[in-house]
Symmetry: C2
Subunit: 557 residues, 2 copies
């Protein structure tokens, strides 16, 4: 395919993405349903076999490996070792290669880079099914979530970052003949403006969403001319290896030095993070992970561009509802989805002592609790929906955290139990634990993050005071999302004002197949970047514009 | 004036500024010539009298003063004490007031804030002449430069920041009804997007351009909804006090809490900088000043948004010229202007040992040096042009630096002497010192910044190697600007590629009334933000977009 054909193939996609980003309307370039009708009848089975064929051997698919020792040791949360090994690439070698590659890459203009990246993404999309299995068996996600999160949803987030990058790169005219009147004459200066990347970029991945959370940073770097080093979490390397290998091959075929994107395999003992991010050549760092480590990164990397997506304390308030059943079904799904291992999962459910207003009268906290537990039970014990919705716990620490929560001494509204998985008897599973807390009295507990299947029903003196407490939690601990259920316009306005001023997004009356955990590419900003949960937002202008500067070449004519 | 009238008055200006920012064409909202025909025949004299009326007493013009001790002690570089005192405002009080003011301010939309800020700027523009005298007698600038730099040029930079802020705030639709097809139906979510400021912002001013260098940060903060604390340099407070007082009064008249912009008087002994920038409520810091302190700020403020405009080593290369006289006149003016006390002043002039190509043949370095010195002498000793072009040295350290340079032992091509000022016999003046250095051998000397009237003619083995050395200096020490004189297209392309890749802007063949020291609002980005001279650029998207995030309010409909 020559350049004109490539351009013709991808420019309409870029234009649609640009349109969606500007208008925040619905758009999806990749279909989210893992259906044979869309992806081909054998695609799923082929993908599963390809995944199995990768197991128990060295990973040798990608071009730009290092020549270091072979490292590996990933274990599926569903209970078996993957046995895949990756060759280490030293940070020094990676930096040298990436810097060389960046020299070529940064000379291309934004639209050219966009077309090349879109073609590379299209080629990498051929891996959606093996990528889904690789994600499932490293993160513990259920299959459908793994398919969507590492496949179409992540790829659309990448395209969103590319489009937003193009927006920023094209914000100003690329050249001008500048004429300034002076007395009776004028002076004229010809000016050409050029975007210069700040990079190298480094993207530090997390253990739960290895592709989805990393892709915005990776593609924000690439579209703005920065070469990028991608360091996955040592327990979740296979999805990253698969996607990087495909992207590298595609770029090489397109005549681009594939070292513009490199993966750095690592181990739990030598996680490489500090070595990568503190390298003087690395000027941009994207990090997804724990608040404590993320904050430490921000502090220690003063002078670099640092984007963090940490985590916060996500709260829900039940004030008044039109259909309590629909509300609790929605909430139960949000609590069960991937066993609470999402930075957007709700943790604190505030219920006024005076009860939740419903068409059938006020429902007191204990009644709400009982009905919420019943909704969770119905989902968990649904043999078809339960296990794939909950998935497995990515790591042992989450299970330990669950034990700590159980030992808090708070009243247990719903006990957590393992959940038998029909296909994987050794899967590390746990159904949601729901504890009862009192607003204020138990702030030390519910005021911090309990990552995993752990939630608190917080009894609050009133809906107004619950709102104040939620805003205070956003200020102290941050939040990725908040949700409020209310049928009263005045209360809604008050909640919107208070919570947005505190720096968080608000979801009102989410029922049906729209969950507070999910954010839609091109429309929802993921993470506001204005509270303690992180300074990154997928994808606003700041997220891309911080990665390059503009220099000009002026000449008096 | 009611709101509709205000809008009608200022929207055309905002639109023109937005147009100029996008197209980078010439625009100036305020006239740069301090002429009676434009500003009124008595404006100059009235302004001078107003300035003199402020001397030797407490400054009591602005509303939002503190109740602390009276501090002052500014001394004119032209040789007399100003005797003005300012009441200190504690950081704690300022933060509390600014936070309260921000609550109202952040609720306004971008265009509303723009209109209010434009009206405030228009009212403050009434101070152009007293502001010019206040700037002259704190910084040492000549009168015309002081008028332009603190008046029209600074105000246009403010308007540029406002316009670029509006661009960023309006990058995405403010609301949408999002419809996602689902099976045969669809889900619909109503979304409203809201910009949330990250601030408070703090702006730390410098001693040479108290308004020009601070205004972009001040107005980038304000337009994006952040209240702003402005801490001037303790030896240059009067220009800031004048402009803040006017802006506060204008805002108050417009119904805005004037505490949205506060000045923090300080002293050399208690400069307040760390107390301000490290305050937890301050999330955005703009700094102009020395590289060492700026770098320390960047390091220590990890986790905050920090923009620095430090300084670098600005180089000029003479390769080939069409008219050497015109080139050297231009260069001489750049070296003399405000006695080299501009972060954009050239420091190193590279001349190939083989000579500079001219229509009359090659001119060897010693001949170039002699003619450059003659051009400097002609300007310096022109009784009308010399003193106001050179101005005075802002502080004693610059004079000491000059003495250090003289003691380096390098051959003196042109000696620095004091320059009698016709009006101010006690002015602290010094004409440019030009030393001879050899490329490589003296890199330790010319490779760092010598702020003030100190320049080096660097003999280079060849134009090609000079270019390499200039790029290397940009990488090691940073640069605000570089200039190359060449008549060869191939060399020009090579220079443009090499220097822009290193992260600096390049000016080719500047002659006549266009100087490398000056950057034009709306068209030139001041500081690229991609080299060691600082990470700020007046005004690119990153500079405004980093100051706010977007939260959304979603509701299932």
């Amino acid at each position: 395919m020559n350049w004109d054909e490539l351009r013709e193939k991808h420019m309409p996609t870029l234009e649609r993405a640009l349109g969606a980003v500007r208008t925040r309307t619905f758009y999806a370039h990749w279909a989210e349903v893992p259906s044979g009708k869309i992806y081909g009848e054998t695609a799923h089975e082929d993908g599963r076999r390809r995944f199995e064929g990768l197991l128990h051997k060295p990973f040798q698919e990608w071009l730009q490996q290092g020549d270091g020792e072979w490292v590996g040791g990933e274990i599926s949360p569903y209970g078996f070792p993957l046995g895949v090994h990756y060759r280490r690439l030293s940070v020094a070698t990676a930096v040298e290669r990436a810097q060389r590659a960046q020299r070529q890459w940064q000379r291309l203009d934004g639209r050219t880079r966009a077309v090349l990246l879109l073609e590379a993404l299209e080629q990498a999309a051929a891996e959606f099914f093996p990528l889904a299995y690789a994600t499932m068996h490293t993160t513990g996600q259920g299959f459908v979530m793994a398919f969507q999160a590492s496949g179409p949803h992540a790829f659309d987030r990448a395209l969103e970052a590319i489009a937003t990058g193009v927006m920023a790169l094209e914000g100003f005219a690329p050249e001008v003949l500048w004429r300034k009147p002076l007395g009776k004459g004028e002076i004229a200066v010809r000016k050409r403006f050029q975007a210069v990347p700040k990079g190298l970029g480094a993207v530090i991945g997390c253990s739960t969403f290895p592709v989805w959370n990393a892709f915005p940073g990776v593609f924000a770097n690439l579209i703005t001319g920065n070469a990028c080093l991608w360091k996955p979490h040592p327990t979740v390397m296979l999805p990253v290896a698969l996607v990087v290998a495909r992207l590298q091959r595609a770029l090489e075929r397109l005549g681009i030095d594939p070292n513009v994107l490199l993966m750095l395999p690592c181990t739990l003992e030598e996680p490489l993070t500090w070595e990568v991010v503190e390298h003087p050549a690395v000027r941009i760092v994207d990090y997804t992970g724990s608040p404590a480590f993320g904050t430490e990164l921000e502090r220690r990397l003063g002078g670099k561009v640092v984007f963090t997506e940490k985590a916060g304390v996500n709260s829900v308030l039940l004030h008044s509802v039109a259909d309590l059943g629909a509300v609790l079904d929605n909430l139960a799904f949000s609590l069960c989805l991937y066993s609470g291992q999402m930075c957007t999962a709700p943790q604190n459910i505030f219920v006024p002592e005076t009860g939740v207003e419903t068409p059938d009268g006020r429902l007191l906290p204990e009644e709400v609790a009982a009905r919420l537990c019943a909704a969770i039970d119905a989902l968990v014990h649904n043999p078809k929906a339960g296990p794939p919705t909950l998935g497995a716990l990515q790591n042992e620490q989450t299970l330990q955290r669950l034990r700590q929560a159980e030992a808090l001494g708070l009243p247990v509204l719903r006990a957590s139990t393992p959940l038998d998985h029909p296909d994987y008897p050794d899967a590390r599973t746990a159904t949601p634990l729901l504890l009862e807390a009192r607003q204020g009295e138990h702030r030390q507990v519910y005021g911090r993050e309990w990552f995993g299947p752990i939630a608190f029903l917080v009894r609050s003196p009133s809906a107004d005071s619950a709102l104040q407490e939620m805003a205070a939690l956003v200020r102290s601990a941050g939040a990725l999302v908040t949700a409020v259920y209310t049928t009263e316009e005045a209360f809604k306005r008050q909640a919107a004002d208070l919570l947005t001023e505190a720096g968080t997004s608000v979801a009102f009356n989410f029922v049906g197949p729209v969950w507070v955990n999910q954010s839609a590419a091109y429309s929802d900003f993921h993470g506001a970047g204005v509270n303690a949960a992180g300074n990154a937002s997928f994808t606003d202008l700041g997220y891309v514009a911080a990665r390059f500067g503009i220099v000009h070449v002026r000449e008096v004519v």
